[in-house]
Amino acid sequence: MAYLFDTPEQRRVMLDAIGVESVDELFRQIPQELQLGRELRLPEPMSEMALEQEMQQRLGAVAERGVCFLGGGVYDHFIPAVVDEITSRGEFYTAYTPYQAEASQGTLQAFYEYQTLISQLAGMGVSNASLYEGGTAVSEAVFMAMRVNGRHGRVVVAGTVHPEYRQVLETYFSRLGTEIVVIPPEGGVTSLEACRQALDSNTCALVVQQPNFLGCLEDVRGLTESAHAAGALSILAFDPISPGMLKRPGDYGVDIAVAEGQPLGTPLQYGGPLLGVFTCRSEYVRKMPGRLIGKTTDRRGRDCFVLNLQAREQHIRRDKATSNICTNQGLLALRATVFLATVGPRGLRQMATLSHQKARYAASLLTQIPGVSLKFPGPFFREFLLETPMRAEDLLPALSAQGYDVGPAPGRFAAAGLAGLERCVLVALTEKRTRQEIDGLAAAMRRVLQRG
């Protein structure tokens, strides 16, 4: 066995104290006929060394992987060493949700700091202590909007919102009879006019993304105003590094702002675990899903922190809770906290502007290739949709073979209303991509397209 815990002698001592003969006797609580009469059919136990050697072989190799220009919600950002150092401290990552405040002040203060940092980043009144990831955050936002304005009939969603966020929304609302109205993109963005038409008096909320899935910038202020005019809430999904350069959700006056927080210090990990960022106007705080940390004082008047407003939560309110979430994404919220504390406002500005400059540089190089152009005329932040003469499903593997990973291709979400983009691919840039890598991508694409 890998871990040698209770020894036979200890087992004996314990069994005697309990007053039974054998461990089997303890399991008599399980009716005999329900007991599995055999061993589980699983691979043989393995020692640390042997399993490490196997895993190094199976998960250590990345020879096939190219330089990462992949986007679509999560990005290959740099993570300062401090983030790993702090979050690998056992006192953080082997603690539970901070139920016992006196034994969890470290977690509680860190999450209070997280809430504040995220509020500062989003320009919103209040942030919760995390949700699962960006997609569920959008769905939770819609639920919350319903609680705020009591409207359940309809939710209007821009067709430029990440197709996976929309898929999640569809699943979450599949049994609830809420109509999900999707506004088809026009020129890569959401038309104000179409939006106004879609919003009706039963609409709980309008959901928009900035920059949107196609890389374009939406008129969030206009869209928010039309939502408000219809009595609906405005929900914005934003890129959490964009405030380093662009307006914050709060600057547009939105009611709920959510984000996929992965760029703030979380490794890609094939897309999970991630960090669901959730913020809203302060007045809606009692309608929020998720954990909230509050500042208070203790018996001796000392400042301290607690899990606050628990009465909204499932362990108290049960079927009337504001969400079913229990385990959330604590460690990744901590990562974001350490990340933001380390890079600071200057670092975030640099991340944003570097990503943007490199995106412009890449776009400029790539669009010099014959037949390659930007799909949409509007400005972009750090991700743009490129149209090429080749079908995306042929182009992407060809580029990967050259050592450059680009995508996703919106065509893979054709079912989600992104048809007609079969020859388009997203290209995403982060501060990590070097000029040499970008030049290499352009050269590779030129080669691939020349070969046809």
Partner: protein
């Protein structure tokens, strides 16, 4: 060792101009001919984030960390949470490049190693559950519940059935009703028998053609194996309903009995409990689900499939999939830790882990039952629920007081006031990774506390940095965000 200066709030430590240069200057030229972002989109003010030099950031969080109890530092017998040791090897392997650095839109060809591992994990979880259909998609237990209920709903819809009610015992975890409500079901709570088991008569009285699912934790939250689980299942099936097993307590029964074998149709795992994905101070978790074959076509997307002929792993969407409940594949980082754990232990090891978990719990029970009430008998599975009702009556010392006093002894508290069906509940789950020495020390501390002067205990904790935060006031006037002092 204390350091009050370092644990001020980040915002109070901020000083304009301090910081760390993490990123370089740009290495690309400015370009023309690409659309410029207009002023209407650009931020007009610098972000109000704090400015702190790296050394102070480190010192701040290192000191904060020492204000926590954790499995790495303390015995943490938090019932229902399975606070077992999280092997350090898992952390190392989870950092392997294909695991940590793969982008979710990476092509299949680039992640065959990772997919092969996830595929194996699906099979292992099916075997442990005795249920053949597995989805690794859900982010945590609660999402597993929700997902499984949607899966069941899709199945019922497909069969043209209108089933609207989800039933669960009063001892159920809060996520059960919350998930059922989220999935659009009507919630029906059963009182349960006085002995802590499902009351078959009560159940029978509630079952009809509206019944969709009965959700039950087994072993239940009292630490008891539902004696009549087979009959429960038969009853449900007889009206066309399904049984959902909340797998939070799987650590008691690995390799001994399987949800599929005792009548469950669906279940979730909490990988962060049973399979040592660390709890992370509140996540991340992973809540994969396992279901019967007839439910498998409805599972969320994607699942990993293997083409034996080509020895090729790919992602695929089950035939009648309910869709996605989150972006991307799942909480791969945590799933991998679960995989590492199962591979390390194998079938024999898992069974032994459960044996030791049950043994440790029963031993602890035997050591405390003479001074604490244990209302549901002196046998349990991996955890048991004691009650401080006697103490409360006799001396006014409550469960909360005892919990807080334990902190002074260097132990984290058990789960308190849950399940709701036991007064002054103290739910203790030692797990298999704790030593006899630790159990003895803990039992001795509990015993000592129970004979300490009531005032001492009611004033606890005495040795921690803070004592009994004012939650009422916190909720009345919530302060959830620091703001700069007016000046």
């Amino acid at each position: 060792m204390r350091n009050p200066t370092a644990t001020k709030l980040l915002f109070e430590m901020s000083c304009a101009g301090r910081g760390t240069q993490v990123f370089p200057e740009s290495d690309v030229p400015e370009v023309a001919g690409i659309p410029e972002i207009g002023a209407e989109f650009l931020a007009t003010e610098p972000l109000p984030l704090p400015e702190i030099a790296e050394p102070d950031v480190v010192r701040h969080f290192v000191n904060l960390s020492t204000l926590n109890m954790s499995v790495d530092s303390h015995f943490y017998p938090l019932g229902s949470c399975t606070m077992k040791y999280n092997p350090k090897r898992h952390e190392r392997w989870a950092r392997l490049p294909q695991a940590a650095g793969s982008h979710p839109y990476q092509s299949e060809a680039q992640i065959q190693g990772l997919l092969s591992v996830l595929y194996e994990l699906q099979g292992m979880l099916a075997e442990i559950a005795g249920l053949p259909g597995v989805s690794l998609h859900p982010a945590a237990g609660a999402q597993g519940e929700f997902t499984a209920l949607l899966t069941a709903a899709a199945y019922f819809r497909d069969r043209g059935e209108q089933r609207t009610r989800v039933l669960f015992p009063a001892s159920a975890h809060g996520t059960n009703p919350a998930s059922a409500a989220l999935a659009g079901f009507e919630c029906v709570q059963l009182a349960g028998g006085r002995d802590g088991f499902v009351d078959l008569d009560e159940l029978r009285a509630q079952l009809d053609e509206r019944t969709a699912v009965f959700m039950v934790t087994n072993p239940n939250t009292l630490g008891l194996f539902e004696r009549d689980i087979r009959q429960v299942s038969e009853l449900l099936h007889s009206v066309g309903g399904l049984v959902y097993i909340d797998g939070a307590n799987m650590n008691a029964i690995l390799g001994r009995t399987r949800p599929g074998d005792f009548g469950g149709d669906m279940m979730h795992y909490n990988v962060h409990k049973t399979f040592t994905g660390p709890h992370g101070a509140g996540g991340p978790g992973a809540g994969p689900i396992a279901v019967r074959d007839f439910l498998a076509p409805y599972l969320p997307a994607p699942v990993v499939t293997w083409d034996a002929a080509r020895n090729w792993y790919s992602l695929s969407v089950p035939e009648k999939s309910i869709g996605k409940v989150r972006t991307f594949f799942g909480n791969v980082g945590i799933l991998l830790r679960g995989y590492f754990y199962i591979r390390t232990l194998g079938g024999r090891g898992l069974r032994e882990a459960s044996e030791n978990a049950v043994l440790n719990a029963n031993y602890l029970l035997s050591q405390v039952k003479d001074f604490l009430d244990v209302p549901h008998g002196d046998r349990c599975m991996h955890e048991f629920v004691a009650s401080a009702r006697r103490q409360k009556e006799q001396t006014g010392v409550t469960t909360m007081d005892i919990a807080k006093r334990l902190l002074d002894y260097g132990f984290h508290a058990p789960t308190v006031y849950f399940p709701l069906v036991v007064e002054e509940a103290l739910m203790m789950e030692p797990t298999e990774t704790e030593s006899l020495q630790t159990l003895n020390a803990f039992a001795a501390a509990l015993r000592a506390i129970c004979s300490e002067p009531a005032d001492l205990v009611r004033g606890a904790p005495h040795t921690t940095a803070v004592c009994r935060p004012d939650e009422v006031n916190a909720a009345r006037k919530p302060v959830l965000c620091w703001s700069a002092p007016e000046c």
